[in-house]
């Protein structure tokens, strides 16, 4: 049996799905994320049934891609459960009446039912059931109230015999509302005041800056402390002794020793410089990057589920339009800060080719992923604002200026923003944990093998002298134009595979601050990692990706050269 969970966006559908199934699922508060559907299983009277979380829709006459997908999926279900936002009954019933016409057995979950009282709405559930002829169950997904009843009633799902005039749909809904809903005079609640203040420019922009500051500080605080109190000690005290033993054991097998352990620095393992598969290869993704990935996704999950992101989209809309994008494009950018791969996937919420191209290109060039940032913090952190400030400042300037240029040269249109602003909601903790866990799992599965492969390839390339050879060829450009030693070439080659590892390769070179800044900026800009590149290929197509890559390389060279010039004069 196939059960479909459907409803308007932002009605708590995914939380209900989480409650029903307990399977891993991504649930977010902004429209557009669940264009990929999620599936799970629920047991009804001892039998296993498939349950599918359909992307949120407002109507069965599709107005966008996500709605098309959803409408198609609905045709395949045996039972439909519509999740309704009880505080918004009228709008939700619009979809109900359309669903009734499909003649499928249905069930209605009147979600957020507890909230109706707070805002002075009372709904006569019995009456509603009578009129539309479908079982209605009040639920509160956050606390789990009503979920058990919902499962029990699934077997009572039935198709409605409610007849109405299709052309007069809104009038019909009006008649139903009159009979089942009473609205008392309502007070302006605190949540509503916050809702208004956080998006009104005069108060909203300071709040936005404050939120971003807090987010940034929270990520660094979490990440740094996890590294220095958990991961670093774990590697230093737990893993290093093991590796030293292995080193003694392998002392007769030089090649294998160099591959697995790498070089010993003063008879000890140096995770930054040893460069073996089991030393640096494990330490970079797990000891440095994973803590930051965890910190980033935890903070992001709270932001997503609270309903704040659509407000950010509205506030940055004007500035994004200057770059040929609209406010929603902030979502791929934000996701890109975690990892460029989900960022690239999220460009699909943008409608036109122009928007997708600009968003993907800008993200690849000027949005450093958490893995890269984590390593940059380590590399440039000691220089304070002078190091990190210049690198991040340059990226922001490049992001904006390149956006202005791309808007002018890329053909096509950028539509206006049109999004629902959901009320603030308390994030569902179990949902947040699940979401973070899924993303971490994904990182370990996808990224760690890449880093190991990278270490392996780098070792092989050095052993066979390939990197030294390329270094000699590009040395003129490197030395004169970018002002970098030719040894840095190895890092830039590695950057195609993994950025974090590439930064790791810069550490042993003992470069000056100027060289560090230039190489960090060039490394951030010239190419996304292979994984992100593969996703971009899918999203943009070959031709556009080639164009985008050309822009990446050119802008990286140009910015690197310019930075080298400026810093030669100002930084001594």
């Amino acid at each position: 049996m196939k059960i479909l969970l459907t409803g308007n966006p932002n009605v708590g559908k995914s939380v209900i799905f989480n409650r029903l199934t307990g399977v891993d699922v991504i649930s977010s508060n902004y429209p557009g994320t669940s264009i990929d559907f999620t599936m799970g299983f629920v047991s009804i009277a001892g039998k296993r049934a498939e349950i599918i979380d359909v992307p949120g829709i407002y109507t069965l006459d599709p107005t966008c891609k996500a709605e098309e997908v959803a409408t198609e999926m609905l045709k395949e279900g045996d039972i439909i459960i519509q999740v309704i936002d009880s505080t918004n009954l009228e709008r939700n019933l619009n979809l109900t009446l359309q669903l009734i016409q499909t003649k499928k057995p249905m069930l209605i979950a009147l979600n957020l039912f507890d909230e109706t009282e707070h805002i002075g709405i009372s709904i006569d559930v019995k009456k509603l059931e009578q009129i539309i002829g479908i079982p209605c169950i009040p639920t509160c997904a956050l606390t789990g109230e009503g979920i058990k009843e919902l499962v029990e009633k699934i077997k009572e799902a039935r198709s409605s015999d409610f007849v109405f005039n299709k052309k007069e749909r809104w009038n019909e809904i009006g008649k139903i509302i009159e009979q089942v809903q009473v609205m008392k005079h309502k007070r302006h609640t605190f949540s509503e005041k916050l809702r208004d203040a956080s998006v009104k420019p005069a108060t909203g922009i300071p709040i936005l800056i404050l939120v971003l500051l807090v987010v940034f500080m929270a990520i660094r605080f979490l990440g740094e402390n996890l590294i220095s109190y958990v991961f670093q000690p774990l590697f230093e005290n737990g893993w290093s002794p093991l590796m030293l033993k292995l080193s003694v054991f392998l002392s007769n097998h030089v090649v294998l020793h160099d591959l697995l352990i790498g070089k010993l620095v003063n008879g000890a393992i140096d995770y930054g410089q040893s460069f073996g598969l089991l030393t640096t290869g494990l330490f970079v993704p797990i000891g440095v990057v994973l803590p930051y990935i965890f910190a980033f996704y935890t903070v992001l999950a709270f932001l997503e589920d609270s309903g704040y992101l659509p407000r950010v989209a509205v506030m940055v809309d004007t500035i994004m339009h200057k770059m040929g994008l609209h406010g929603l494009a902030i979502i791929p950018m934000l996701l890109g800060f975690g990892c460029n791969v989900p960022g690239a996937m999220a460009t699909r919420i943008l409608e036109t080719r122009k928007e997708k191209f600009i968003a993907a290109t800008l993200m690849s060039i000027a949005v450093p992923c958490m893995a890269l940032q984590a390593m940059l913090f380590g590399l440039l952190g000691p220089y304070g604002i002078k190091g990190l400030g210049i690198v991040f400042g340059t990226l922001i300037v490049v992001w904006f200026i390149l956006g202005l240029i791309l808007r002018k040269i890329i053909k096509g249109t950028s539509p206006e923003i049109f999004i629902e602003i959901p009320p603030y909601r308390i994030p569902y903790l179990k949902g947040v944990i699940k979401k973070v866990w899924m993303r971490l799992k994904w990182f370990i599965k996808e990224a760690v093998p890449f880093v190991l492969l990278g270490v392996l390839i780098a070792n092989l390339l050095y052993t066979f002298g390939v990197i030294q050879f390329i270094g000699k060829i590009v040395a003129p450009v490197f030395n004169h134009f970018l002002g970098l030693p030719q040894e840095a070439v190895g890092a830039l080659i590695m950057g195609f595979l993994r950025k974090d590892l590439a930064v790791g390769m810069l550490i042993p070179l003992n470069m000056t601050l100027k060289e560090l800044i230039v190489s960090s900026v060039v490394l951030s800009m010239y190419f996304p990692c292979v994984a992100a590149f593969a996703v971009l290929l899918k999203e943009l197509g070959v031709v556009d990706l080639l164009k985008s890559t050309a822009i990446m390389l050119l802008s990286a060279l140009f910015t690197g050269g310019l930075l080298n010039l400026i810093l030669s004069v100002t930084l001594t």
């Binding site: 407002y58 107005t63 505080t87 709008r91 619009n94 998006v199 989209a313 809309d317 406010g327 009320p423």
Partner: protein, 60 residues
């Protein structure tokens, strides 16, 4: 209110319950002809300045 826009805009708004004759409130707007937020019932949506321009209202 009335919507002076094309079929696409009318449909999109209709799906959200915003249609001719309905009472709506302008919550606020961003600076420099940025998006306008309107409320109808318990629904708030942000629409572009150009779209907002096409919605004609009778002030109450």
């Amino acid at each position: 209110m009335a919507i002076n826009g094309g079929h696409g805009l009318v449909e999109k708004l209709d799906a959200l319950g915003i249609r001719a004759g309905k009472e709506i409130t302008k919550v606020n707007s961003q600076w420099m002809k940025g998006p306008v937020i309107i409320r109808s019932g318990n629904t708030e949506i942000a629409i572009g300045y150009g779209m907002a321009h096409k919605i004609m209202v009778e002030v109450k």
